[in-house]
């Protein structure tokens, strides 16, 4: 039902929301999740109380709440992956309701752009950046649309994890879920090294050769156990498309530590049970017999072993594993708050203790109770006072883990590409060339540290992608010509700033723009383009704040 309502809103069209109407529509449709008994406002309040207590305890005075004009830009970027249009921002600023921020959060998180933005984020986080060719493959094999649907229909994260890791779609509509494993081309160690941070929020790479040297709880047995769950899996091409088959035999080996002692690769994982499995003698050569398998549920899909390691993994280890919820809430917290309660967000081990352990427990517990309701989690965190604090670091505080101010963060490539289009051309296409080009160069998503590189600066300065994009934005509806047609430099500066930064320029800025534009009337058009470049490459545009 939700799909039916949302689908007409094509994501590659510019959507200018009318707040009131949109709110009505979306409030009417509700959520895919059954209404649960936990009150969102209580949870938001509890989070704020916990943070407030921690500030008091640390003697920290948090930043003031941000202004509406800051909030509208920030929330659009964080929740729907782009800046607001001038009209969207204006509509929000004119809204007189006392709960207009909550209303906006509600509208944004139930929009198609929300599904697109979160699909972007999770594609980068689960799969990593890749070549355009591989992006096309991800689309073609419906991984992309699968992710979009997860967020559009607000599927239970626990179910999503199970679907992706079992990779046996119940219907061909779900076939995109197999791509997480399929793209990794039977590289079973690589799969294990991806599964651990993607779903459990831990990195096990270094446990390949020895128990983790600082996070002692991560053992070498976990690494090889996780590999073993996947090492009978093979990529196959069926009439239904790519699938992951599984053998009923094989996949037994020993791993050796740095001292040379070897151990069997039992089916186990971090903080979990060891799944019983009969191990054949070393020299035995078990036969692969038909009666070890049952037919697939879907005609044309590969047969399924009676004892399926992937199934065991999903049923007995993944499902409701405490880290699934903790990792997810920590990651969403990091996305919205600029840093995980555990930082880095995908190293939730004993070396990286949470800054607010009770808060993490609370969020994880609530997430489980809500049947892993993603949208509810996003809405809850975005509704906190902490999320809505100003982004200027208050004097005297240095620790970002206090969350006493909104932590500025660089836009992702998709956020840049979409927002550039929106600012310069007034509309956007999620899959436009500029998005693809920026994505190939600016690859970081939620980086551990905000360290800019000269490579990115060179890209933005000299690469044909950005320059051509601005140069070719010559339509009469585009910003360049709209600016050109205005009467005074004052008006021109105002339009440029309002469109790109979502704020009015101050007098100094007006003067700077005006004096540059006035220097040479003949090259006005070119000069406007240079100003546009200078705005979209300035830090104010590059960061969410």
């Amino acid at each position: 039902m939700l799909t039916a309502v949302i689908s007409p809103l094509k994501h590659h069209q510019l959507l200018i929301y009318s707040l009131r109407i949109a709110a009505c529509v979306f409030l009417a449709i509700g959520s895919a999740h059954a209404e649960d008994d936990v009150d969102d406002r209580d949870l938001t309040g509890t989070i704020d109380q916990m943070l407030s207590d921690s500030w008091t305890a640390a003697g920290v005075t948090p930043a003031e709440t941000c202004s509406d004009s800051v909030f509208v830009r920030r929330s659009y970027l964080d929740l729907v992956g782009r800046i607001p249009t001038v009209q969207e921002a204006e509509t929000f600023l004119q809204d007189g309701r006392s709960d207009k921020r909550a209303q906006l959060i509600q509208v944004l998180t139930t929009s198609e752009d929300y599904a697109q933005h979160f699909a972007d984020m999770f594609d980068a986080l689960l799969m990593g950046r890749t070549s355009q060719r591989n992006y096309d493959e991800r689309s073609k094999h419906q991984w992309r649309s699968y992710l979009e649907r997860v967020f559009r229909e607000n599927q239970s994260w626990n179910d999503v994890v199970a679907e992706i890791l079992l990779a046996r779609p119940a219907s061909n509509d779900d076939r995109g879920a197999v791509w997480f494993l399929f793209e990794r081309k039977e590289k079973h160690q690589e799969i294990a090294e991806a599964v651990a941070p993607a779903f459990f929020g831990i990195r096990i790479d270094c446990a390949q050769c020895h128990d983790h040297m600082s996070a002692h709880e991560i053992e070498q047995a976990h690494y090889w156990g996780l590999v073993a769950f996947f090492n009978r899996s093979k990529n196959v091409h069926t009439k239904n498309g790519p699938r992951i088959s599984e053998d009923a035999i094989g996949g037994f080996s020993e791993f050796a530590n740095l001292e040379g002692d070897s151990s069997p690769n039992l089916l186990t994982f971090f903080k979990s049970v060891t799944i019983a499995e009969e191990r054949p003698d070393k020299d035995a050569k078990p036969e692969d017999k038909d009666d070890l398998y049952v037919p697939a549920g879907l005609d044309g899909d590969p047969r399924v072993p009676r004892f399926s390691r992937r199934e065991k993994f999903v049923d007995e280890i993944v499902s409701d594993h405490p880290l699934i919820a903790r990792a997810f809430v920590n990651r969403i917290w990091a996305m919205l708050m600029g840093r995980g309660i555990v930082h880095p967000f995908d190293e939730m081990d004993s070396v990286h203790p949470p800054s607010h352990p009770e808060l993490l427990d609370l969020l994880a517990e609530d997430f489980r109770k809500s049947d892993y309701n993603i949208r509810r989690l996003v809405q809850t965190i975005a509704s906190t006072k902490a999320y809505q604090l100003g982004s200027v670091k208050p004097q005297g505080i240095d620790d970002p883990a206090t969350f006493a101010w909104y932590l500025e963060r660089p836009l992702t490539a998709e956020q840049i590409g979409r927002s550039m289009q929106l600012g310069v051309r007034g509309n956007f296409d999620n899959n436009s060339q500029i998005v693809q080009q920026v994505r190939q160069s600016i690859r970081d998503v939620m980086p551990k540290e905000n360290v800019a590189t000269v490579k990115d600066a060179l890209f933005l300065t000299n690469n044909a992608a950005v320059n051509n994009f601005i140069n070719e934005s010559n339509d009469k509806n585009h910003l360049t010509l709209r600016t050109l047609n205005l009467g005074s430099p004052q008006q021109q500066a105002e339009l440029l700033f309002q469109t790109i930064f979502g704020r009015q320029p101050d007098s100094e800025e007006v003067e700077t723009v005006a004096s540059y534009l006035m220097q040479n009337q003949a090259s006005q058009m070119d000069r406007i383009k240079q100003v546009i470049w200078s705005l979209i490459t300035s830090a104010e545009f590059r960061f969410n704040h």
Partner: protein, 444 residues
Amino acid sequence: MKTSRSNTATDGCGSPEHDVHRRLFLQGYLAAGAASIASYSGLFSVPTIADEVKRHGKKCILLWLCGAPSQFETWDPKPGTPTSGPFGAISTNLPGVKISQLMPKCATMMDKLAVIRSMKTEPSEHFQGIDVLTRGDKPRPPFVRPILGSVIAEQLGQLDSPVPQFVLLDPCPEGNEFKAFKAGNWAGWLGAEYGPVRAGGEYSIPDILRPENLTETDHSDREALRKFFSRKFQNEQRSEAAASYNAAFERVRGLMSCAPLFDLKNLPEDDRQRYGLGAFAQHALQARHLIENGSTFVMVANGMPWDNHVFQHEMHQMLVPELDNVIYQLVTDLHLRGMLDDTLVIAMGEFGRTPWLNEARGRDHYPNAWSMAMAGAGIKGGTVFGATDEHGIDVAENEVDNRRLFATIFRALGISHQEEYVLPGLPTFQRVEGDTKPINEILV
């Protein structure tokens, strides 16, 4: 930013240095695999904390003779013996020392070179050999040792220089095992920022040139505007992220200004003729140019041309004279420009070649007894260290392995080879492992 270094050979345990090392170590370790030479971005990362450590000012050029040249046709000829090959030996300006007739120019400047004729290493296959001779030792999984250039860029590099500190000049996109090696993690535990910038041939720093449809004036005007708006934001927000971002743009023009350093056409025509017109020689000249203009480590390679399993002599007739001239011109230039005392020039491959010819008129891999040469910073010219037996089959005296060679290189550059890395639960190990001693005989 990673600023730790120690200039003393013996750091006591419990030194705060150790903590920093450990951090360094962990960082590179966790980022393993992420820092191939394709990733050059890091070198220009702009630290949010200023690096205050003073630099030595020493530099290094590695003439990387990938594929492994023959010692018989270079530094250790065996005239009149069954293993000699067709080329003779000539006298040099060091009494009693002869080198291959293919190296007449080096023969006149042996007083500036140190030659080791007693190299003896383990790996006999390229990938492993390259690993050991560029990183200094065998792999010790799961750690990835940084390559020599990364260590030197980290220890001696000028982080505020607009010029890339570690440059790999290699126009050959292929190179068999060297290709595979190039795709690997070069900076190891030091982290990607100490990986090389690759140039040469089709390789160059992306986006280093001003777009053609933009005038110089527009390019600088719009940057001035950008800087104004962006600085204003940085100041009003007291934003560290914006500061780092703006600092990155500050370096754009500097880096663009060094674009000419990467264009062979800008090298003086006389010099180009003098060094020789082949890619290796041209890039060796470019290496000199880069070092003169602020790079710290330049590695010059040309694929894997020395691996002459077939046509050994037919290829060495061309490659060795080119190398001879390149070493001669490079060392002479550095000397005349007063840079030789601060610049170490190393010429070596990953092993040597067999004393005997195979049926395909080639020499095969031979790590048991081979030669290499150095000149410049910290090196005592006019020395020949070690020797092989009559037919060049084994080392006869003063065996030198990769560890000893690296200890010598580090010492020559004033870098401690005994600096320790400490990790909980794992054995401590030094920059150069084992109780390795540099070759004092060839050090100043």
